[in-house]
Symmetry: C2
């Protein structure tokens, strides 16, 4: 009898996760009942927000429970189906357990068009990260032509898209990233106006000042911490800060005070956190635009594809070390 | 020959001002030339923002220069005039030097109606503090009926008005202040729903939690520092913070990191600094409403009137010690 494999969340990390938090277990292959489908995972997504779910206590997303399977954004192929309109062979995107095979009642599944973008794009540019970049840029950071727009984690899944959207809106875009390869990508492939390597620069504030000679009008922040502290003094009057993530702080074992000198009153800054889920009613509108821009070549994206279900924990841990380039996904099975 | 008296800014303070920063000097009485008026100061305003002007370096308002006279919001009486439409005896409000008599070309003067509110109200509820409360509340904090609205420095010139405006908008209003007398005033005279004494409470966070059992939807912040750090963890999802002032930090000799744990992303907070001057085009609209509310008794205000021009420095220093109650003004001469 064929076996299924899944991960169980075995223990909460203290500080930086090691991968030991997840245990791979075998179980009987599930069998779909009435109005159910059996889906084979093709791609599973790993994302920074997952660090929050590893933590106990209240947050916007409920914490993963020890002993249960964690969930992920996922793309899969329908292998057996008793659901009308969901034939065997369909490609679908959704959220399900870290498992090779899952059962679904069809709820929350989105069918993918096999003639469109590659299916795993539904986990990146045409999924949660793309939507996050879209709403964070247009609705929160609000770029205006001529603005200097700075983005941190600029070679990441969200940052690389936010910067390109701001560029389309006529901004001067400055990216911050952590390797020479990423900096080259931002400058050469994405045509950012400047890119600053926060790891290589001895004087990050000075390097940012040089990259932003007229100050910063909008800052799309994915990281927090020391990078954000270096951007803060450059904010112009009526500057906007879209706070998307704070990955620099996710693995802190105790909260360190963010020594960020926002001149809130003098510069009349607006600092606003957001979650993509709040924009759910407008997802269809945004996905249609993003897909058009991707297919027409106006929006570029990178993926880091890690091969093999058994590498899920490693792929997730890599996010917190900056080892991903663009969207990090795990390929479980080629559809 | 009659002499005029004025203050000269003699030295920049280090930390808390002592009053020694200002030197009282005598000079010949000024004499108005063509298209000029001689104005006698009746009331001069002292305000927290003046601490910023005592500091060197760029800010939204240019720093006071050592050896020159500081300026203040002021109400005066026209004593001699060669300006058409500005007869002797007119009461005017404007901004001018810390002096008993000043010359004016009429620019920036607002004539006061002697049958309306008392003239010094033009420095408080019907002046800059009133406008600050109005725009900070309605345009930045944006109260909604049913919201819990917290205001710091709640017995001050701005805070006492912001809380009342939020109350009018249907909020549950909680004030934070630093003496029993102020707390009683907030509860009894202004009918705030709760008031917390930040000096008397051993456990400020706990006291605020009790005062805000359903969390905080909007926070009108005049102080920053430890008070704001205690409010931060209570902010509800989509909470708004209108940052009006940070008086707790104005006299710091070195910047202390504000250990404020805003859950920016998880709670999707908006933190926005503002300056009343940005709303200048709408001042007339706001003043008309404020005056209507004052004259109809819907908006109450307190003043601390210090008598005597020679007490200007003392009145200013008192602001940073919380010795004012409501709007602090100096009465120079009864019109």
């Amino acid at each position: 009898m064929a076996l299924n494999r899944r991960y169980v969340f075995a223990q909460r990390p203290h500080g930086m996760p090691t991968g030991e938090e997840f245990e791979l277990v075998e179980e009987a292959m599930p069998s779909p009942g009435r109005n159910q489908a059996l889906i084979r995972s093709c791609y599973l997504s790993v994302d920074p927000y997952m660090r929050g779910r590893m933590r106990e206590g209240p947050s916007y997303a409920p914490p993963w429970q020890v002993g249960e399977s964690p969930t992920a954004g996922a793309v899969g192929r329908v292998e057996a189906s008793d659901i009308v309109g969901l034939p065997v062979g369909s490609l679908v995107a959704g959220t399900w357990d870290w498992a090779e095979y899952v059962l679904s009642d069809g709820h929350g599944l989105r069918r993918l068009d096999p003639s469109g973008a590659p299916p795993q794009a539904a986990l990146g540019v045409l999924g949660m990260p793309g939507l996050t970049a879209y709403f964070g840029t247009f609705d929160v950071a609000r770029p205006r032509a001529g603005d200097t727009f700075v983005v941190s984690a600029a070679a990441g899944a969200v940052g690389s898209l936010a910067g390109q959207l701001a560029k389309q809106a006529g901004c001067r875009v400055v990216g911050i990233a952590g390797t020479k390869e990423k900096i080259d990508f931002l400058r050469e492939e994405l045509a950012f106006d400047a890119a600053v390597d926060y790891r290589a620069e001895g004087d990050l504030k000075g390097a940012l000042r040089d990259a932003c000679p007229t100050g910063v009008d909008a800052y799309f922040d994915n990281v927090g911490g020391a990078v954000t502290a270096a951007v803060a003094p450059l904010m112009n009057t009526h500057g906007r800060v879209a706070v998307c993530g704070q990955i620099a702080t996710y693995n802190q074992t105790r909260r360190e005070p963010p020594d960020v000198a926002w001149d809130l009153v003098g510069r009349r800054l607006r600092i606003e956190g957001f979650l993509v889920s709040d924009f759910q009613p407008r997802f269809a509108e945004a996905l249609a635009r993003l897909e058009h821009w991707v297919l027409s070549g106006r929006l570029r994206y990178r993926e880091t594809i890690v091969e093999g279900f058994e590498r899920m924990p490693e792929a997730l841990v890599g996010l917190f070390k900056g080892s991903n380039f663009g969207k990090q996904v795990v390929k479980v099975y080629a559809p």
